[in-house]
């Protein structure tokens, strides 16, 4: 295992530290709370000459992602960061980055979308981009935010993948929350990510390339089919990179992080920082004899449905916790619920546990252990009676 240094970092500083070690060729970004802390910390590294990055504070997020696409098409290793409405403004170009197969890595510090105006955490921003063709990875704490940023480079640039990666952490809760973070030495990170040699790039004078040209009903469809094919290669790469990173650091990463799932009859599924709160509840209830477990998905796009069904198939009840609403979906549920249900329909061989959804934490509303315990009591009732009174519940709603 490589030597590591323990530092006190918040999630934003942890990502900035990872970016310093990655030393990307180009960073283009625009300030938005709570992401700003990443880029302004990084801009200090640029000013201090600690990185060789060309950094440009552009005039909007739309311009930021556009500059990233240009830089990546020109063969650079490219990173950016954003949140909420910033990601929403990038929209058009977010799709283009994925469609052009450019391995850009973007840190998203999850924040609620307007209106009403809100700067605090929920997942409505990155959930809106879940069909954009980007790989999406969610982090629970600053350590994971750091680790996932480094691994994201390897995943994005893998020759079987060549797709952009969004690496998420919860706004303020993780982004501004200082925790103990184990940081690799610079050389170890550089060795792990390696040199980036793009297979196709602009400015290769002897072999000129065209990016983003016309493709109508003749070839557009094939491009999209190839994109899906590339995404299907992602889970294997994520697992391989996670194992290699584990050998280096002692922190192994997979598609998801199960806790007390071996004999669980009740399972909670939740992304990001709330998984930490849920884990405390699981630990407490296990002592009381409740057969409960926790599944924290890490890779959200592409969704590892088959593997998740394999893990959840023997439980009686699944309580999904969604930090956003997929407005207009069945019963007003969240996106994670939809994915879990669709996975059972597709891979469950006609069998599925009862699956219910709980919307929580919108716009930064706190989620408390007592609320999760209350939810579990409802799940136990469903397990005992088989009766689901409501498909979608709300935790902490006034």
């Amino acid at each position: 295992m490589a030597k590591q240094i323990v530092k006190a970092l918040d999630g934003a500083a942890a990502v900035a530290e990872a970016m310093r070690q990655i030393d990307p060729d180009v960073v283009a970004a625009y300030p938005i709370t709570p992401q700003t802390a990443i880029v302004q910390t990084f801009s200090q590294f640029v000013a201090d000459g600690l990185v060789g990055t060309e950094f440009i504070p552009v005039e909007s997020e739309h311009a930021a992602m556009s500059a990233c696409v240009g830089a990546a098409a020109a063969g650079g290793r490219v990173m950016t960061a954003t949140a909420a409405n910033g990601l929403a403004l990038m929209w058009e170009v977010v799709y283009i980055a994925a469609s052009m197969r450019l391995p850009i890595v973007m840190s998203v510090v999850n924040r609620a979308l307007s209106a009403p105006l809100n700067i605090h955490c929920d997942h409505s921003d990155s959930m809106g981009a879940r069909d954009s063709g980007w790989i999406q990875i969610f982090s629970e704490n600053p350590q994971e935010a750091y680790d996932n940023t480094i691994q994201a480079i390897r995943i994005a640039e893998h020759p079987d993948v060549l797709l952009p990666v969004m690496s998420m952490q919860d706004g303020f809760i993780t982004g501004h929350g200082v925790e103990r973070v184990e940081v690799l030495e610079d050389q170890a990170v550089k060795d792990f990510i390696g040199e980036y040699t793009p297979k196709y790039s602009l400015l290769d004078i002897d072999n000129p390339k065209t990016f983003g040209a016309w493709a109508f009903y003749d070839y557009y469809f094939e491009f999209k089919r190839q994109q899906t094919e590339a995404l299907s290669k992602v889970p294997k790469v994520v697992e391989e990179v996670g194992q290699e990173y584990g050998k280096l650091t002692g922190r192994y990463y997979g598609l998801f992080d199960p806790f007390e799932m071996d004999d669980a009859e009740i399972a909670i599924v939740v992304l990001s920082s709330a998984a930490g709160t849920a884990r405390t509840v699981v630990r407490k209830l296990r002592k009381e004899g409740v057969k409960i477990g926790l599944l924290k998905p890490r890779l959200y796009r592409p969704f590892p449905g088959k593997e998740i069904v394999e893990l959840l198939k023997d439980v009686k009840v699944v309580g999904v916790m969604d930090r956003s609403i997929a407005f207009g979906s069945i019963e007003g549920c969240g996106p994670l619920y939809l994915d879990i249900c669709a996975s059972f329909f597709t891979y469950g061989n006609g069998k599925a546990p009862k699956v219910v959804d709980y919307i929580f934490g919108l716009g930064g509303r706190d989620i408390l252990p007592e609320q999760i315990e209350g939810m579990v009591r409802e799940l136990i009732h469903i397990a005992e009676t088989g009766e689901v009174k409501q498909v979608v519940g709300y935790l902490g709603l006034r």
Partner: protein, 265 residues
């Protein structure tokens, strides 16, 4: 909204309280922020003109400037995403032309992410008053470089000094076709109120750039001192257009011109 409680002389502090939701005070502004002075100047202009506050719409964006009207003004206010107040205001004016539409944005809001809306609204000469509270920095997100940050100035994202040149917003908007364009600072309070009054009654696109102090994010990093020193900084730095016309380019070096750049004859 009722202005029946209005008391005091027009334009007085007492008089303008009627336009404010005082229950929302204290404001979100840092101590020494120029935006409070601009807020007072705008309300004084409205009060002195005896405009019907109930027929006014205030549109603001994201940034410290967004707070000047929302939620403090006891009027119709529309708080929009970053950069979009002029576009929202255009829609509101088209749907209800009898509204007196006032946009209040910052330099980050109007000149950067929303720069396109600014020049196109000016080009169309659409009747609205656009006030740009220019503090030369993104204040609310913690002090990053904007398109109006002077060359060499220190910000969170330019810790070794801004390498780029700033926009001259008045020249930009005048070039785009605005029919009233003026610039003053929050130090030049009487001429500022006069310019705001002209802008509010102008039958076309009126633009007023207001240089506003940000001691917290801009002043501190550029060693410009506290709130009062920053006001004196405007006094020192600004030069009336009429005077400037008689001066050489060398004498004008580092000065900011104030006055009316475009005005009806």
């Amino acid at each position: 909204m009722s202005l029946t409680k209005k008391t005091g002389r027009r334009g007085s502090t007492h008089s303008i309280r009627a336009y404010i939701r005082t229950e929302t005070f204290p404001t979100a502004f840092c101590p020494g922020c120029g935006h409070g002075i601009l807020m007072g100047a705008l309300l004084r202009a409205i009060d002195e003109l005896e405009l019907d506050f109930e027929k006014m719409l205030f549109v603001s964006g994201i940034g410290c400037s967004g707070w000047i009207s929302s939620p403090y003004f006891a009027a119709d206010t529309l708080h929009t995403p970053h950069g979009r107040p002029i576009a929202y205001a255009t829609g509101a004016k088209l749907a209800n032309p009898s509204l007196k539409v006032v946009v209040i944005g910052g330099d980050g809001d109007l000149a950067s992410i929303g720069g396109n809306h600014l020049i196109h609204a000016a080009r169309r000469n659409i009747e609205m008053t656009v006030i740009c509270a220019n503090n030369m920095i993104y204040g609310m997100t913690g002090g990053q470089v904007t398109p109006t940050t002077p060359t060499g100035a220190f910000t969170m994202t330019t810790p070794q000094g801004n390498p780029d040149r700033p926009f001259d917003l008045c020249k930009l908007v005048a070039g785009a076709g605005a029919t009233y364009v003026a610039r003053y600072s929050v130090y030049h309070i009487r001429p500022l109120i006069r310019a705001l009054k002209k802008a509010l009654t102008h039958p076309g696109f009126a633009f007023v750039e207001v240089l506003s102090s940000c001691p917290t994010q801009y002043g501190r990093r550029n060693r410009l001192g506290g709130p009062s020193q920053m006001l004196l900084y405007w006094k020192e730095k600004c030069l009336p257009l009429e005077k400037a016309r008689r001066m050489s380019p060398e004498e004008l070096e580092g000065k900011i011109l104030i006055g009316e750049f475009v005005a009806p004859d």
